[in-house]
Amino acid sequence: DAGVTQSPTHLIKTRGQQVTLRCSPKSGHDTVSWYQQALGQGPQFIFQYYEEEERQRGNFPDRFSGHQFPNYSSELNVNALLLGDSALYLCASSTGTPAGEQYFGPGTRLTVT
């Protein structure tokens, strides 16, 4: 049984560009959450998708958007990249219960130059 997978593993972009990161949840999971982990910090919650809709959102600007597909996979899009967007982006999947128990993927390392 594959766990949570993310692609790509590494990515280098230039300021102002746009990027799309992808996530496939663990089998049987229907909820996907995205986190940003800056170097030396804990993950910060970006948003959560359930039934193809954004259910909850953290304190991130509208440049960060997402999508969930009928097969529960998800994408994170970031527009107008800033240097400060350089981070490890983590995807986590879960089911409705037990509350909050999430399984994390290995992450995508985004570097903005």
Binding site: V4, S33, Q41, G42, P43, F45, P98, E101, Q102, P106
Partner: protein, 111 residues
């Protein structure tokens, strides 16, 4: 405001010594609490969780944590650490689809 605070950013210990990683939370409502571990260049892995019931929670790799409502704490402990326990540990708070991570504690186990 709801938050979680890890009181130590770095904890160095010798192999086979006991360790405690401290975590305090702030919330006016009932919460769920977790500890996750992040090994170098790997994803986050769940160590243990407190949802309800017994306040002493046992997890994987010999770790345990105690939920203390009066002190709003959820400290992580292990009686004897191994070199392989070297990693970043995150205390996590969850309430109503809001999952918040502490800043992390870097545990370094020395031979």
């Amino acid at each position: 405001a709801q938050s979680v605070t890890q009181l130590d950013s770095q904890v160095p210990v010798f192999e086979e010594a006991p360790v405690e990683l401290r975590c305090n939370y702030s919330s006016s409502v009932s919460v769920y609490l977790f500890w996750y571990v992040q090994y170098p260049n790997q994803g986050l892995q769940l160590l243990l969780k407190y949802l309800s019931g017994s306040t002493l929670v046992k997890g994987i790799n010999g770790f345990e944590a105690e939920f203390n409502k009066s002190q709003t704490s959820f400290h992580l402990r292990k009686p004897s650490v191994h070199i392989s326990d070297t990693a970043e540990y995150f205390c996590v708070f969850y309430n109503n689809n809001d999952m918040r991570f502490g800043a992390g504690t870097r545990l370094t186990v020395k031979p």
